[in-house]
């Protein structure tokens, strides 16, 4: 497949018309049509403008042979607007992260605990999801308060790439499992940290069961949503992963007086596990710590939410735009002469001059110190 066909393919993927591309790049519509139909070649500067808009590398357009199967983005619920744009940005960031790993020789192979591959989507059960959560807790040594370490363990140990972006509705998140860059999760930056924790655990379920639930995705599908049932399994997994039954019992029992617990105590327990009070109430109900009708449970949740909005003193700093490791790898790649200033600036979304400040001194990071032998 030549440059022309690849340009057409990339434009279709971001769902832009020739007129829209012209508006954003100032490349004439007839020229665009000529390029896509291989009647003439764009100049490199024109190709650069198009590759930026389509969020593809120039190398993608120069490659020969058929286009490899594109990565699938799995959404809980597709965003209200601009899905193609969000997806292409997310995949581009994942690709950049992977590039940095390769160029610095610091690739972390994806090493997630494996779900039982003999299972299939039709026979999957809640017991399977709960068993998987227990297995992951043990395999990753997440301890009694898993939410506190889950993001860093997934990123630093398991090789999962985690990015945060702004999109609507806030209740959704996405994941992707690529042959190129491995496993990745996209979370909503606007959500509170405990909500993001839950979303991360939820998306982890999809990554772990990718081979079970995504076996029959058609080759031309690049964006999809999980079934309602799969989403319920993912939520069950997330609850059990973030609130291990034994640990939650110990905490709740310590707060119960004469068979009753205050909303303040529930809030405090949720804070310890870094989950929402709503998630805690649901989980208490599932593990038999709450005997209440569905209607009462909903009333409790409403009351807890109202209370939380008034008394929530938990730290809720926004996540950084880039994972810390991504940033560190970018700086390392730049200082070691593996990438150019412009590329470094582009990867960290900083100005060229700010990028230049990273080489204005000679750093001593390669200097060695002695350590005690094991």
């Amino acid at each position: 497949m030549g440059i022309g066909e690849r340009l057409k393919f990339a434009r279709d993927r971001v769902a832009l018309t020739l007129a829209q591309v012209h508006d954003k790049t100032r490349v004439g519509q007839s020229s665009l049509s000529d390029f896509e139909n291989s009647r003439r070649e764009p100049s490199l500067s024109q190709l650069q403008a198009l590759s930026k808009l389509y969020r593809r590398s120039i190398a993608f357009f120069l490659a020969e042979g058929p286009i490899p199967q594109e990565d699938v983005v799995l959404w809980r619920q597709r965003p209200d607007a601009g899905t193609e744009d969000i997806e292409s940005k997310f995949l581009k960031l994942c690709e950049q992260y992977h590039n940095l790993e390769v160029w610095t020789g610091q690739t972390i192979p994806v090493c997630l605990p494996k779900a039982d591959s003999s299972m299939d989507a039709a026979t999957y059960t809640y017991a399977n999801a709960m068993g998987l959560a227990k297995g992951v807790l043990n395999a990753l040594n997440l301890g009694d308060r898993p939410a506190l370490s889950l993001p860093s363990v997934l990123e630093e140990v398991c090789g999962v790439k985690i990015f945060y972006m702004d999109f609507e509705p806030t209740g959704t998140a996405a994941s992707a499992y690529s042959k190129t860059f491995g496993a990745a999760v996209l979370l909503n930056r606007k959500n509170k940290r405990w909500r993001r924790n839950f979303d991360l655990a939820h998306e982890l379920f999809h990554l772990l069961t990718w081979n079970i639930f995504r076996q029959n995705v058609a080759p031309d599908v690049t964006s999809t949503c999980a079934s309602e049932q799969e989403e319920k399994f993912a939520t069950c997994f997330a609850r059990n992963l973030l609130m291990p039954a034994d640990a939650i019992r110990v905490v709740i029992h310590s707060k119960v007086k004469e068979g009753r617990i205050t909303y303040g105590a529930l809030f405090d327990a949720a804070r310890q596990f870094d989950v929402s009070t709503e998630a805690l109430i649901w989980h208490m109900s599932y593990v038999g710590l709450l005997q209440s009708t569905e209607e009462n449970k909903k009333a409790m949740i409403d009351q807890a939410k109202a209370l939380t909005s008034r008394m929530d003193e938990r730290d809720n700093t926004l996540p950084p735009l880039w994972p810390e490791r991504y940033r560190v790898l970018a700086i390392k790649a730049f200082r070691h002469g593996a990438i150019s200033t412009g590329r470094f600036a582009e990867y960290l979304n900083i100005s060229r001059q700010e990028a230049m400040s990273y080489v204005e001194q000679e750093f001593k990071e390669d200097e060695e110190v002695s350590v005690a032998s094991a």
Binding site: S43, S57, I339, V359
Partner: protein
Amino acid sequence: MKKFRLLLLDANIVIELFRQNIWDRLIDSCDIRLSRTVAQDEAQFYEDEQGDKKYFDISKDITEGRITIFDILPSELAKFRSRFDSTYLERLDTGEAESLAYLMNSSESCLICSADSIVYKVLGNLHRAEQGISLEEILQQVGLNRQLLWQYTKKFREAWTNKGFQEELGGIGHKD
């Protein structure tokens, strides 16, 4: 008589020349060529000490023929790319890749001036060390000596060119 003929500059150098307010004097002394990507997209402004963007415009220099702009086609870049580890294209600025491809394809002997270690690594890798020149060396020869940061110095160029040469000996980068 101009001091340098066919001098290719990358965006960082153009920006530094404007920041130092010596662009006009340099283009009077040298035959400068810029890739279209450097001229149109990459070299737009510098930031002053307060961090404010100071935009500059080289379009008049282009229309009046004081500097020359060149374009290359993707197929020419593909030839350059085919000589390297395929990731090199993603690692370089597009303007740098354009300038290096131009240098490789040109029948005339060009010089390239950059503040990017990877550009000098590529030259070292291709055994074309003699076609690299630092901003420090240029300014010395045209009588515009001044204190420059590390990445504009001859030492920087030599260190990274040598690194590229060593990598090529170790089988990294260059395919031929």
